[in-house]
């Protein structure tokens, strides 16, 4: 049984079709990639999946439950969390506080408990702090928790954004071009992290332009062109697919 099923998803903006009749499945513990030239509808697909945008028609079924039309926070609460193409950290906050926001849905104490520092509040804060530190440890940033997020070097900001999404214990993580702007060692570090996450049981869907990375880590690749899925398959199949070479790789070379 697939973890995520997308059926005939369609979205147009002012008559221009961005995503057209898109269907695919993601299985548990898989690393899937969505690739395609600029404007192929990759990020729009993520926006639809995460509830940032509402599709015109179609279905999104996550864990056997339709999530179509739900608000982003409700989708996140069900265990599907995404990152953004541009680094979108809360740079007005510290590194650890960024991660703590990602952990938000694991807590429940609100205004009153916080104002009066109730025992339940203290327990929850301790839990959130411990959880956030453990996620920071995963990306090697546990020593820099008190720094302002905006002061980190770019590569670490990217990792922090992933960490922030991880803090909520997602079952499926949607990564939108996580390697953009990273140098070779940083990309290697990222690949290592993604594989580590999969070992922990997290399913990953990644949008990426770095073909080397995509071919190295993913098991299933979905190729979009002008909103339409033109191919799907293993890295080997995709590399040898004429349609893909024509629409995408040919253009890039």
């Amino acid at each position: 049984m697939p973890l995520l099923v997308v059926k005939k998803l369609k979205k147009s903006f002012d008559g221009i079709v961005a995503v057209n009749d898109l269907s695919f499945e993601v299985h548990k513990n898989e690393i899937a990639a969505i690739i395609g030239p600029n404007g192929a509808g990759k990020t729009t697909t993520f926006n639809l999946l995460s509830g940032v945008l509402k599709a015109d028609t179609g279905q999104i079924i996550f864990k056997d439950e339709p999530v179509f039309g739900l608000k982003p926070h409700a989708i996140a609460a069900r265990g599907m969390v995404r990152t953004f193409q541009n680094v979108n950290l809360f740079d007005n906050m510290t590194v650890i506080d960024n991660v703590k926001v990602g952990c938000h849905k694991k807590g429940r104490i609100e205004v009153f408990g916080a104002a009066f520092r109730t025992p339940a509040f203290r327990r929850e804060e301790a839990f959130i702090t411990e959880k956030s530190l453990s996620v920071l440890r995963l990306i090697g940033l546990e020593k820099r928790g008190a720094e302002m997020a905006g002061n980190l070097p770019f590569g670490q900001q990217r990792l922090l954004e992933i960490a922030r999404a991880l803090a909520g214990d997602p079952e499926i993580l949607l990564l939108d071009e996580p390697a953009a702007g990273l140098n070779t060692p940083e990309t290697a570090e990222l690949a290592e992290l993604i594989i580590k996450l999969r070992q922990q049981g997290i399913t990953i869907v990644i949008i990426e332009h770095d073909m080397e990375l995509v071919m190295e880590i993913s098991e299933n690749i979905i190729v979009l062109d002008q909103g339409i899925k033109i191919a799907e398959g293993s890295p080997l199949e995709i590399q040898n697919n004429r349609k893909v070479i024509g629409a995408y790789l040919g253009e890039d070379c």
């Binding site: 608000k71 969390v81 007005n92 926001v101 104490i109 205004v111």
Partner: protein, 335 residues
């Protein structure tokens, strides 16, 4: 106790000491200074509330005077015309601004950008107009309501300037600590995150709409409570539309938040006190120039402060500029 908490406790104790000791510095014209400081304390409560909304959550209210007035007038009407005890009137004085903010927040906060600023601007003007027009003959029209009874809590009656001062500042102090606690939490982090990016915060699992609405209502409650104190604990025991509900008052509250610094509780305190003193300073200066209307000058100053802050919108930038100007850290020039 962790070092950070100890440091914070020391700051709170110092603040408390300043509050307690301050009246002893004014031997002459004590009641004049006390009345200004009491007013500053009342402002501080409203400003802390507005800062929660503006500084933390990044939502702008241009009609906070309306909530202040809702609290002040509800209690003034109930106590003068329906003989309700002032203490009992606290509840309706909070419910009315809370309800108004909930009703206008519900539809406008669904929308992004600054619809809230427009809606609050509107509600502030409507409340002002209603208070002046006095359609049900209960608000006293432009003349307002005089003779509001003082508060009587546990044998303490807020009918003298010194009890008013200590009563108000005791409350301000408590509210200050509770609010500082409130922002330093999961709740506060969610607000700061919303300030930076609503979409990102939402995607991470925070119900941003709920939080925006919650903080807006809380912020209106602070203003309503401040208005309630203004009615029962300030020297005049008098409310009028021009004193508690004027658009300029809303702008004044916004300026206090901005002057003190967004998302700083200490800043709110500082902003409220410094701008409460400002009109008095201007009045003294105005007396040197015959016939100078200092209240006009006051408005111009708020405008100027807001423009300056907008120009240096990021505090980081402001800090750099100030340090360059004040510390003369100039780059060596080629010449």
């Amino acid at each position: 106790m962790p070092a950070l908490m100890r440091y914070q406790a020391v700051r709170y104790i110092m603040l408390l000491a300043v509050i307690v000791v301050l009246p002893f510095f004014f031997r002459n014209e004590l009641s004049y200074y006390l009345s200004i400081l009491s007013l500053a304390g009342i402002y501080a409560i409203a400003v802390i509330g507005l800062n929660l909304l503006m500084g933390y959550a990044g939502q702008i209210s241009l009609g906070h005077a309306g909530f202040f007035a809702a609290g002040a007038y509800t209690s003034a009407i109930l106590t003068t015309q329906f003989n309700m005890s002032p203490l009992l009137a606290l509840l309706p004085a909070l419910i009315v601004p809370g309800l108004i903010s909930f009703i206008i927040g519900m539809p406008t906060l669904k929308l992004k950008e600054h619809y809230l600023a427009m809606a609050t601007l509107g509600i502030g003007l409507i409340i002002y107009a209603l208070l002046r027009a006095n359609p049900f003959d209960i608000t006293g029209g432009p003349g307002g309501i005089p003779g509001i009874p003082p508060l009587s809590v546990l044998g303490l009656i807020t009918d003298s300037d010194i009890t008013q001062y200590y009563f108000i500042w005791a409350l301000t102090f408590i509210i200050f600590i509770l609010s500082s606690n409130m922002v330093n939490s999961r709740f506060g982090r969610a607000l700061l995150a919303i300030h930076k990016s609503e979409v990102v915060t939402n995607v991470l699992g925070v119900n941003t709409y709920k939080y925006k609405l919650k903080i807006f209502v809380i912020s209106a409650l602070y203003a309503g409570f401040a208005g309630y104190l203004y009615a029962h604990c300030s020297p005049l025991f008098y409310v009028s539309p021009d004193d508690v509900c004027h658009f300029v008052f809303s702008i004044k509250l916004v300026t206090m938040v901005v002057v003190g610094g967004m998302y700083s509780m200490w800043g709110s305190l500082l902003g409220a006190v410094s701008l409460a003193i400002l009109p008095e300073l201007l009045r003294v200066m105005g007396s040197f120039f015959h016939g100078l209307n200092t209240s006009d000058l006051e408005m111009a100053l708020y405008g100027m402060i807001l423009i300056l802050v907008m120009v240096f919108s990021q505090s980081q930038k402001l800090k750099q500029t100030l340090s360059r100007l004040l510390l003369k850290e100039r780059k060596p020039s080629a010449a």
